[in-house]
Symmetry: C2
Subunit: 338 residues, 2 copies
DNA sequence: TTGTAAGCGTTATCAC
DNA sequence: GTGATAACGCTTACAA
């Protein structure tokens, strides 16, 4: 029975095994092989009877090896973020790291605090889905040699890999699909683009590509949560283009949610007025006749982010690219069927 | 400009401020008041020019004060869990603690690993939404004096506060509502109840209360994800009770999702056949005519969990109750309107 | 009010 | 192969 009051230490294991601290340390570190089989056995035995487990705090103290990865999420209640977090966590565990997840609720101040904190815990790497532009602090990490990966959003003047969706491609795929389905006028709906390079990029590409295709188009920036203004903008757009087949393209999951509500408030029939969203959500299949989406490969994105980190933590020969973009996959449903 | 290569240490601050390590330590600890204003000023000055921040690893090592709370989540992709996690994180931050979130994907083995890990990081408290029955390990924490709070699910033989919904009340409220709306036969749908005390409790109370009310009732345990068997069970129930007004009560969010899919596959009209779910979800308002739910006060639950922990970490006069149950709130929508 | 010095549990650097 | 021993950065008696 090993329900001691105190965690046992390396010294106690060493004594019980008739060995030195060093050997026990080696056993639990990278150098187990250097120990003779008999010593290994004794240590294993002693450790198990004592229920010994190395104290990570002490480990982190000496060599700076906290075995911790920090992750900053802009909005943890966003299903997309959750999916990515899930991927990141899995990958971390595979590499023997633990993940400290911090949620910033899109608040730059909280973001700053959390970054300080993660630095205080000596995280060995950082996965950041930025809320603001914490350039200074990220530079601090970089200059200390802590690798950083940016998720989904870039930060000015911070050189780090950026992992995320190929926004250019995503918008193109969306418009292509809408055109094929015969829609002639498209309204793009986005959350406020100021804070997010991804939102800006999608928005910009939308203008560009819609122009190229000769589509009638407009933009709706979501503001007030009650959606009063949005409702007006949407119906104005539909009226102005009533001679065309109209569709709405949503820039992310939140936009899709908001617009679906608007459709219901306005009594619009999905499909008659097309609806398509970037980001796949649980319920997109459930709102009849189903909402067409562009799904992001969230697990792959998370996994890739961690891989970038690992390559930089234990530097190999190959240099990594500075941007990794994934293609979305089209999930076709009734909302884009006229 | 403070972009040094290495984090500066307490010693450097002390030197620059012309003070001792102890004073600097006091300044950043609980004893700032004991220092003379002039000393405080000098230290503040020095610390800020050096960009000093105490190393939490070192702090944790000496006194065991890691300022870390560990949280184990059974399924991080479940919106309910996310909401709770959000609440827990906020509360932790308020108390000056950071949160390490570990997801177990409902896998007892992962759960064990994560518990070992959290213990290795010297977490000062634990919020656990158990996947299995990690009695042994939880006891280890308890015997080391680390307080534990159980979320939503109990674990046999582990004495710890349990924070969650008042399941008894929730089921009663649901049945009451369904009765008032004129439904006479109710099918209860649940995920496998083996692992979860909450699921068991709701299921049990359903039988009991449905019986008391003289309702016709049945049970559907979700198994295969494709839902083939479930579809059969549901339609059988409806056929068997076709002379009554039928409704389905879903035991949690996943069940609601699954059942909503079934309704669509079977072409059932919401309301005609009643549908009600425990757990509120983003999209419940969006599937016409809206799905009636019982919402859990997730923020309150998360906050309470952390408060329990804090009371035990810094023991006060009052003893805490061993169970804290919250009442759900009814959100009435069209799916329970005949 | 302030400082000195002894750890905390581990890893890294040398020796043997 | 194995083992002393000195850090790591901080807290905390104990002095002054």
């Amino acid at each position: 029975m090993s329900s001691l009051l105190r965690r046992s230490t390396i010294l106690e294991v060493a004594r019980l095994a008739g060995a030195s601290k060093t050997s026990v340390s080696r056993y639990f570190g990278e150098e187990r092989d250097r120990l003779s089989p008999s010593l290994q056995a004794r240590i294993a035995q002693a450790a198990s009877t004592l229920g010994y487990q190395p104290n990570q705090m002490a480990r982190g103290l000496k060599g700076g090896h906290s075995k911790l990865i920090g992750m900053l999420v802009a909005d943890i209640r966003n299903p997309f973020s959750v999916a990515i977090t899930h991927g990141v966590e899995q990958a971390c565990r595979q590499y023997g790291y633990s993940l400290v997840v911090c949620n910033t609720d899109n608040d730059p101040e909280q973001e700053r605090q959390h970054l300080d904190l993660l630095s205080a815990y000596q995280v060995e790497g950082l996965v950041v889905n930025p809320s603001g532009s914490p350039e200074r602090q990220l530079h601090t990490f970089i200059s200390q040699g802590t690798p950083i990966v940016l998720l989904d959003r870039e930060v000015d003047h911070v050189e780090a890999e950026v992992v995320g969706l190929d926004n250019h491609l995503a918008v193109d795929m969306a418009l292509e699909h809408l055109c094929v389905q015969g829609y002639q006028a498209v309204l793009y709906v986005s959350e406020a683009p100021e804070q997010s390079s991804t939102r800006q990029r999608r928005l910009f590409r939308f203008h560009q590509a819609a122009e190229q295709r000769g589509l009638h188009h407009g933009t709706l920036l979501l503001a007030a949560p009650d959606g009063s203004a949005s409702q007006q903008t949407l119906s104005d757009f539909l009226v102005a283009h009533r001679q065309y087949a109209c569709a709405v393209l949503c820039g992310n999951g939140n936009a899709t949610l908001a617009v679906t509500r608007l459709f219901q408030q306005l009594g619009l029939a999905l499909g008659k007025v097309g609806l398509m969203g970037i980001d796949e959500l649980d319920w997109c299949a459930l709102v009849p006749p189903g909402i067409t989406t562009l799904a992001q490969p969230t697990d792959a994105i998370g996994k890739t982010a961690v891989e970038c980190l690992m390559h930089r933590i234990a530097p190999r020969t190959s240099t990594m690219p500075t941007t990794v973009s994934f293609a979305p996959s089209l999930i076709e449903r009734g909302s884009t069927q006229r």
